[in-house]
């Protein structure tokens, strides 16, 4: 019995002592991870310009299956860097190369197709951005069914972008123009959002955009009689450049056309400078007719997750108040907020939202002496000037650089004409806007908190150019072998 008691006591003691009192052992056996960090050369900087506008319906305007280019567009570009600048018609019909490395190159040409501008054979360590390559195209259309000014900055292709703007109501046309400049085929999947939510119809996915071609699709075939559109394009295969070509006809009178460019990204505080109001009297006259309720200015917001927004419109004139309003957007829907009762002038729009939203600003232009009497422009949210920018300006007409400052302090922006070298410093007050008249390609200095858009006014028509800084990032990629 003594043996049993001793055994019990011994084992119990060892258990308790071992588990409670013994110190925990820590021993690490370390091996290196099988990984490496590799430098990745950035892809060649390539921009795609939309080319001439599309005319649908043929000469008669009734052949709905016929969508073709109309006229030519003027391409303006400037480049400065190393290697060569390759200007290439997307279809491959018109190519030219310009050696870079000396002084800045300025160029312009009339193009009859979407055109890519590519900086090839650049030095591996050379920077990218708008200071290296930028371009824009403008077209003043004056055919019977399509009149107005359409301008757009050349765009960096992407696999995924959102465009806010356009309408498919009677007399309105929204063509989705997708350009594939690469030698790889692409298919695009669309998601179309309206004031009632997402459109679910067949045919939205698998839209083919063959290599080195442009595909134009009428959005009315997917979403007819929709007053407010937004759409997301996701491509498989090659990256695509995309625009909506918006056109308006009131009665028999063509009342404007424009390219709508993609939003760069969803933002909770998008800023849309370039709200240049001219011809308010004509606009108001047109608005008096019920069927022309969309002839005025409007802010369009697409809120994928829904949003409560506060909109503040600020004038460049200190004595003009502008406007402030709020709105609620249901998740997945698109809402138009008409903007009226603003005098002629230069404004910027500041949006504050509780959720990331995509947006677009429809700016109307009235011109009693011109044909058309009305034109419009769709302004996309601007990028913050976190780096120096160069923007290519058409040589004709008036171009106004509209700067908006959403930062907590006023900011000074240096704007320099790249041809003449003349420069001007512009003070942009906090939550205010300022303008600079442009007469050629300019560089805009870096100014955190400041956003910029160029309004283009030619022959009483209006359009706008985004001030972007397209670049491909070289990077370090960590690869872990398994």
């Amino acid at each position: 019995m003594i043996f049993r008691i001793l055994s019990f006591a011994f084992i119990s003691a060892v258990l308790v002592a071992g588990l409670v009192l013994a110190p925990a052992v820590e021993y690490k056996v370390e091996f290196d991870s099988a990984s490496g960090s590799y430098s990745v050369k950035p892809a060649d900087l390539s921009l795609v310009c939309p080319g001439p506008l599309f005319r649908s319906g043929g000469d008669s305007g009734t052949n709905l299956s016929k969508i073709e280019r109309s006229g030519t567009a003027d391409l303006y570009y400037t480049a400065d860097g190393s290697g060569e600048l390759a200007q290439q018609s997307v279809s491959g019909s018109d190519n030219s190369n310009i050696e870079l490395g000396g002084s800045r190159v300025f160029g312009s040409s009339a193009i009859s197709d979407a055109t890519s501008l590519t900086n090839i054979n650049a030095n591996e360590d050379s920077a990218q951005g708008s200071s290296v390559l930028t371009g824009s195209s403008t077209q003043l259309s004056a055919i019977g069914s399509m009149r107005g000014l359409a301008a757009a900055s050349c765009q960096q292709p992407s696999n995924d972008f959102v465009i806010v703007g356009g309408s498919t109501l009677a007399g309105r046309e929204a063509l989705l123009v997708l350009t594939n400049p690469s030698p790889i085929d692409a298919t695009a999947d669309l998601r179309i959002f309206t004031d009632l939510g997402e459109v679910t119809v067949s045919g939205l996915s698998g839209i083919s955009v063959p290599a080195q071609s442009t595909t134009a699709v009428s959005l009315a075939s997917f979403a007819p009689t929709v007053p407010a559109l937004a759409l997301q394009v996701q491509s498989q295969g090659a990256k695509l450049a995309g625009w909506i070509q918006a056109r308006s006809v009131r009665g028999t009178e063509a009342t404007g056309v424009d390219w709508i460019s993609p939003n760069h990204q969803a933002s909770a505080s998008p800023v849309l400078p370039g709200f240049v109001i001219r011809g308010t009297r004509v606009i108001n006259q047109t608005l008096s007719s019920e069927e022309n309720s969309d002839a005025g200015h409007a802010l369009r917001i697409f809120a994928p997750e829904g949003a409560n927004v506060t909109v503040q419109i600020v004038s460049s004139e200190a004595d003009i108040f502008g406007a402030v309003f709020t709105g609620i957007i249901e998740p997945g829907t698109v809402s138009d907020f008409p903007i009226a009762e603003l005098k002629d002038g230069n404004y910027s729009v500041f949006v504050s939202s509780d959720k990331p939203v995509y947006s677009g600003l429809r700016v109307a232009r009235g011109n009693p002496g011109a044909s058309p009497r009305l034109d419009f422009s769709w302004v996309s949210p601007a990028d913050e000037l976190v780096s120096n920018r160069v923007v290519s300006i058409p040589s004709e007409g008036d171009s106004i650089l509209v700067l908006a400052n959403s930062g907590p302090a006023s900011s000074t922006v240096l704007v320099q004409n790249l041809r003449s070298g003349a420069s001007v410093r512009v003070l942009v007050p906090t939550l205010g806007t300022a303008t600079v008249d442009l007469s050629g390609p300019v560089s805009i200095s870096q100014a955190p908190g400041v956003f910029a858009t160029v309004a283009v006014l030619i022959e009483g028509q209006i359009s706008d150019l985004d001030v972007r800084d397209p670049r491909n990032l070289g990077s370090e990629v960590t690869v872990r072998f398994r």
Partner: protein, 918 residues
């Protein structure tokens, strides 16, 4: 007839038996004319007063002792040779002389040798050789009913009690002093035969022979080694002495290789104890070339006849067969008698319900299977966090076992995990669908564990309620249920095989209650336990190491079972040699203990919760409850009459717990990316097994305590654990075994070489994995790759190229990726999990054709790379051949013995008892 007979009594340190011999000698009905005691004793003086004595040096051999006696006697007629352990019957000499009278040509006549204590038991009646040259006694250990009294002419007779014609003796030059002790008498008889004399048995003449030499009761120097060695030495010596010249040369040269080969056969025939004798005898004989040549010369001097002329006197096959059968019968009888003596038969009658079926245990096993109904297999191959399918071709599974060439990554040279042997063995019965074996093993794991524990518990108690409770407890022990939940097949296999190993080891070490009626030899169990230990160690190296230490400890404690217990670790050691050599030389030795297979072992903390698997009072982990009452009751068992056994089991439990406690702090880190813990669930299963076995010692306690204990475990432990098991099925999926998209599988199945680059987006990195053929299968996973690939990426210049390729691919920067893709032979790129950024990058890469979404991720085909026929060959590295060879050896050793356990491999039954006693 009057003949002169001189008795020569050889005395060598056996005064007690010599007294009886001399006493019997004095009672002869016909007394010898002279009695000479030849005393070569070393330590004890022979009681030879009154007898003529010739004192010789204690090193004097048998042949020289006889020669000295003959010279001393200087007489004619016959000498009657007696040993100090061979006491003649009173009429022995008279009957021998009667034979002489009837046949004067007899050169040697021997008596019937009977048992020293039981004169009715015949020990020997002449000797002969088998056709294989082995010594053979036609009669051995039979009751004397006169059934062999017709025997007369034999090839040879033993010298104990032999009457030798001195004329013939001198003509033959006496016994050969060069011959080994046990060959001298046979050699003399053969030479007598070949020179025209007769050698016969006088059945009526009896001599009680103690056979001290053959029973190992004389000093080893007398025989020149163990009795078994002396017999083999004699056999080898005789074979070479009487062989033709060519046969002698070839025989001498092949002696050692033959002995080695024969050793393997002996091992297979469960006669491993004879191996040392075989090898030692062969080596000794090999070294005695001069002596053999001398003996051959002596034979040629006395006769020109050949041994084959005595073919008719050799043992026939039928005689050998009958002798083997008799030996087997005798062994069975002996074991039955031993079992009877132990009282086993009494227990059989007391506990008739000890079988798996008759006890009703099978219903509990089926019940455990029923608890798993929620994850009933719906296809061949199971996949989970710790298991992936095996290759569909069993040859590929087998090909990986013991391989030194790994196909992971860009391929590298390293030893495969021993676990690949486990997979090859486990899947072999279902070779047509290897993954199914894994699926079944995982699904039936609790029932298999239950059965094993039920078997093991039979060595501790005959109480069926206790056995079933213990078996249920082990089947629901958290170590197993947690491993099943994690689908960690390696752990599961180790845990479910553990009770079978414990049972086998217990049998070898003769621990616990032996199973009456089972005569499976120890060496069969060595084969079984060797394989089980290897399977367990390969599945869980930490548990394997713990078990080896415990088995060695047990072997030291049980020296009588030292060799079998140590031998049971042999296969494990052989399997681990390649891995051990690699890791001891290049990386941390602890890396040997890394858990094989898929998934990462769960972490445990080194504190008081360890024996409860991290059990906390705030936890609702019902499955862990069982560990509490069993621990308490196992401690209580220390206070019962079974305390001694319980204490031993607690030592095992605490050892396992200590290993787990220390192991919980060991961590393998691979850069900042991953870290892996030591796998300790299986060690905690050993802890569980030990305390459950300690709990079973309550069988020696009162009925009331037993009832309370069973009730406690059932209510507090088993019921909640069963509920948890039934309601928390593991997350598994069943498939047809593919791990790559169909298009890749089709290429691989058609014998094409396919290489796939698998990419995955991490938080701040991209993972890249090169997959060959039909994908990474369970058997191809390698801890060597895990710990060596950092070195590989530094050493193999192709890895930076691959890394740059991956970086360019995911960046879609327009850099040339097709050239390196073609150089690496990458036909497909797979992205898993699906990632939009990676998809966009690959979509925009020229030369890649998007195939789309598959079950295994997004897939692209590299258009310019076409698959080429694959040249596949099995990798038969020396380490693989060694591992396989030893595995086969253990399998043969473990095979059921009823058919093999015949003494057909040991034709000579002459001294079987002596051999087995060694």
């Amino acid at each position: 007839m009057t003949v002169n007979v001189s008795a020569v009594v050889l005395s060598h340190d056996e005064p007690v038996s010599l007294t009886r011999v001399l006493d019997q000698l004095s009672k002869q009905t016909i007394s010898p004319s002279r009695i000479l005691v030849v005393d070569s004793s070393k330590t004890q003086a022979a009681p030879t007063s009154g007898f003529e004595t010739l004192k010789l040096n204690h090193r004097t051999s048998f042949a020289l002792s006889i020669e000295a006696a003959v010279k001393h006697l200087a007489t004619d007629g016959y000498i009657w040779i007696l040993h100090d352990d061979s006491a003649p019957d009173a009429q022995a000499l008279e009957k021998l002389l009667k034979e002489i009278e009837l046949s004067p040509s007899l050169a040697v006549v021997g008596p019937k040798q009977v048992d020293w204590d039981d004169p009715k038991l015949i020990k020997q009646m002449g000797l002969t050789l088998t056709r294989g040259g082995k010594l053979f006694s036609r009669v051995r250990g039979e009751f004397d009913q006169g059934q062999h009294d017709h025997l007369e002419d034999v090839m040879a007779v033993g010298t104990a009690g032999a009457l030798v014609n001195l004329e013939k003796y001198r003509a033959l030059g006496g016994f050969d002093p060069k011959a080994p002790p046990l060959a001298a008498d046979v050699d003399f008889s053969i030479r007598a035969r070949l020179s025209g004399g007769r050698v016969a048995i006088a059945p009526d003449s009896k001599i009680a022979h103690q056979m001290l030499s053959m029973n190992g009761k004389r000093s080893r120097s007398w025989l020149g080694g163990s009795p078994a060695q002396a017999i083999r030495h004699a056999e080898f010596y005789l074979a070479l002495s009487y062989a033709s010249f060519l046969g002698f040369v070839l025989g001498w040269l092949s002696l050692v290789p033959f002995a080695i080969l024969n050793s393997f056969l002996l091992l297979v025939r469960k006669r491993a104890g004879s191996i040392p004798a075989e090898l030692a005898a062969a080596a000794t004989t090999f070294m005695q070339l001069g002596k053999i040549l001398s003996s051959r010369a002596r034979i040629r001097r006395t006769t020109s006849a050949r041994l084959r002329s005595l073919a008719s006197l050799r043992a026939t096959r039928q005689e050998q067969k009958s002798s083997n059968q008799r030996a087997k019968d005798q062994e069975v009888s002996a074991q039955l008698l031993a079992a009877h003596a132990r009282g086993d038969n009494d227990e059989i009658t007391q506990s008739p319900n000890s079988g798996f079926l008759s006890s009703g245990a099978i219903w509990f096993a089926l019940g455990l299977v029923a608890l798993n109904v929620m994850w009933l297999p719906t296809n061949f191959a199971v996949s989970g966090s710790g298991v992936i399918p095996l290759s569909s071709n069993w040859l590929e599974v087998f090909g990986q076992a013991g391989s030194m060439s790994q196909s992971l990554g860009l391929g590298f040279v390293a030893a495969a995990d021993p676990f690949s042997w486990v997979l090859a063995i486990v899947s072999a019965p279902l070779f047509f669908q290897p993954s199914l074996a894994i699926t079944i093993a995982l699904f039936l794991s609790s029932a298999i564990a239950f059965t094993g524990m039920f078997l093991l518990s039979g060595r501790i108690t005959r109480s069926n309620p206790l056995r079933i409770t213990a078996a249920l407890t082990y089947a629901l022990w958290p170590a197993l249920t947690a491993s099943v939940t994690d689908t960690r097949i390696a752990q599961v296999l180790a845990i479910i095989l553990l009770p079978y190993l414990a049972h086998s080891i217990a049998k070898i070490a003769d621990l616990g209650i032996s199973n009456p009626g089972s005569f499976v030899s120890t060496w069969s169990q060595v084969g079984v336990s060797g394989i089980l230990l290897a399977l367990i160690a390969a599945s869980s190296p930490v548990l394997g190491l713990t078990l080896i230490v415990l088995i060695v400890g047990l072997a030291i404690a049980r020296t009588s079972k030292l060799m079998p217990l140590l031998f049971s670790t042999g296969l494990t050691l052989v399997w681990f040699i390649p891995v051990a050599l690699e890791r001891l030389n290049s990386v941390s030795p602890l890396a040997i203990l890394m858990s094989p297979g898929a998934g990462s072992p769960s972490a445990l903390e080194s504190n008081w919760t360890l024996p409860f698997f991290g059990f906390g009072f705030d936890s609702l982990a019902f499955g862990l409850f069982v560990s509490v009452p069993v621990l308490v009751l196992a401690l209580v068992a220390l206070l019962t009459p079974g305390a001694k056994s319980a204490l031993g089991l607690w030592v095992v439990a605490i050892a396992a717990l200590a290993v787990a406690f220390v192991g919980a702090g060991v961590n393998f880190t691979f850069g900042q990316v991953t870290s892996v813990n030591l796998e300790l669930n299986s060690v905690l299963a050993l802890y569980g097994l030990a305390i459950i076995a300690a709990f079973l010692q309550l069988s020696a306690a009162s009925q009331a305590l037993r009832s309370i204990a069973i009730s406690m475990v059932l209510v507090l432990g088993i019921a909640p654990a069963a509920f948890a098991m039934a309601t928390n099925p593991p997350t598994v999926s069943y498939s047809d075994g593919r791990t790559v998209p169909s298009i890749i599988q089709a290429d691989a199945d058609s014998g094409m070489f396919v290489r796939t680059l698998k990419l995955g987006a991490g938080e701040d990195s991209v993972s890249a994995e090169l997959i060959e053929g039909s994908g990474v299968k369970l058997e191809k996973l390698s801890t060597a790759f895990q710990i060596a690939n950092s070195g590989l990426s530094d050493e193999n210049p192709q890895y930076p190229v691959l890394g740059q390729l991956v970086a360019n691919l995911v960046s879609a920067n327009g850099a040339d990726v097709l050239t390196p893709l073609e150089e690496f032979g990458i036909s497909y790129i797979l992205v898993f999990p699906a990632d939009r950024d990676l998809q966009m990058a690959l979509d925009s890469t020229r030369g890649l054709e998007s195939i789309g979404e598959t079950d295994f991720g997004q897939l692209w085909k590299v258009q310019s790379v076409t698959s080429e026929p694959k040249v596949s060959e099995l990798d038969f590295a020396p380490t693989k051949i060694l591992s396989l060879g030893v595995l086969v050896l253990y399998v043969l050793l473990a095979l059921p013995t009823s058919s093999i356990r015949k003494r057909n491999g040991k034709e000579s039954a002459i001294f079987v008892d002596a051999e087995e006693n060694n």
